[in-house]
Amino acid sequence: MVNRAFLSDRTRQDFPILHQSVNGHPLVYLDNAASTQRPGCVIEEISRYYREDHANVHRGLHALSTRATQLYEAARTRVARFLNAAQPASIVFTRGTTESINLVAASWVTARLRPGEVILTTEMEHHANLIPWQIAAQRTGAQLKFLPVTGEDGAGVDWDRLERLLDELPVRFLAFTHISNSLGCVNPIARICQAAKKVGVITLVDAAQSAGHSPLDVQAIDCDFLAFSGHKCCGPTGIGVLYGKSHLLEQMEPYQVGGEMISSVTYERAEWKPAPHRFEAGTPHIAGAIGLAKALDYLDRLGRPAIESNDHLLGRLAYERLRELPGIRILGPRQDRAGIVSFQLGRIHAHDLVAYADQFGVALRGGHHCTQPLMRKLGLSASARASFYFYNTTEEIDRLLNTLRSAADYFGA
């Protein structure tokens, strides 16, 4: 491990925000699961777009509008390539993972499920991949069922139970996360989607934590829907993606309605454009899509396989080092973990720990990480979380450990 070149050597200088002091210490940004940072080239592309090319898209025939439209649609093509989608028309731009999932909940699940049918998900989901299904179940009379998280510290879901469950229950829809944002475990998405497909169950993958971290090939995975957020993979805020198989998108009613998504309108009624435009009512976040395309270029230059192993290496290193601390409880599996490590240190409340770490420039997250029911199940009201991206260094893990040690002294844990 010592001789291995970490990606941080090559990338750290690309991220302006990382080179600052916080409370008199160099910033150690370990809150990447909440939001990553952006390289200068993405920030510059957003500025460049506004300085040179901005106009509204789709509706215009003048030069700026043509340029803006071309850039916006090229961004769609770029995202399709990023996911290896069969066609750009499978890519809908949204605000983020949350909106992508809400869209599917409204336009597919709520429109199609019948009383008694089952929406299946897991106990480790982010609120964004839980509450939309609660509402869809309420509205349709469908039941929401959970694949349990096993292990005292939340090792993950026992996916071997999936096939039997799919056989036993009238499951129509299966939604699950690729990488858990609080446990750090990695779910075998291709295997899961295959099992679901065999019995005609429609699948949605929450890729908020994996897009930009791992290779993603929607055709190989064979999921029906997949959602992610730009701000979690070096892109701008306010932009996200819903991938959907084209034949599904074409069957779905629009989610929001207004300009840009209609083919013809009378005072009484409207007809919709084909997907993806049907799902993009109103002026879209043009600069966001263009900035996201630039971010994906950046990531693919680094290479997602390289990012993935770098993530896993940092995650593993942090896990093993943290285990040395007296009184620590680390959530999630020991093996096969992504660059996300949640923990509880002795009796120190996560809030105190995070506030303490911040005084030493170390940015952690503390709380339920938008997985309240999971935390409750694990007997925690909150936990602290360190999450890594390719620009993080092993020295930063040292800084983290030193800070946690001195926190334990300080709070007398």
Binding site: D352, Y356, Q359, Q372
Partner: protein, 151 residues
């Protein structure tokens, strides 16, 4: 270090060894304080005495040091005091934490929480138990245990 302002030794002490920690049986009134954003959770038990005083007061919960210490300090400060006096103290405490003024001498040991003024994200932690107190004081007394007349 700035942090020491937030975590004064009195805070750390009360967080580690909270005073008046535990439950009270009915007819003590019980109320919950919960901050879902961070998971702070406090249960407060209040028994009023004659002349509208706060005769007995206890709490349980899982929360950060600021929240635990604030609850602990609160119980010490207001036990035995008239309800009116407790509510006045609450107003004064919240006003000084959120306004321009310093925490005055009337607040006694609560002044150990002055550091919260520089950490506004911790304001909710410091005030959670007080909101629970207000709620408890606004409740009618619970049914008394073991044979009192049911009303």
């Amino acid at each position: 270090m700035e942090l020491d302002e937030l975590y004064q030794s009195m805070i750390l002490d009360h967080a580690r060894r909270p005073r008046n920690f535990g439950e009270l049986a009915p007819p003590a009134v019980r109320s919950e304080g919960y901050n879902p954003a961070c998971g702070d959770q406090i249960t407060l038990y209040v028994r009023k005495g004659q002349n509208d005083t706060i005769e007995e007061l206890r709490f349980t919960g899982q929360a950060c040091a600021i929240c635990m210490a604030s609850a602990s300090l609160m119980t010490v400060q207001i036990k035995g005091k008239p309800v009116r006096e407790a509510l006045r103290l609450e107003r004064e405490f919240i006003r000084s934490l959120t306004g321009p003024d310093d925490l005055g001498p009337a607040l006694g040991n609560l002044r150990a929480l002055a550091g919260v003024k520089r950490f506004p994200q911790r304001l909710k932690c410091a005030t959670l138990s007080w909101h629970a107190l207000e709620e408890a004081l606004n409740q009618p007394a619970g049914p008394s245990e073991g044979g009192g007349p049911q009303g």
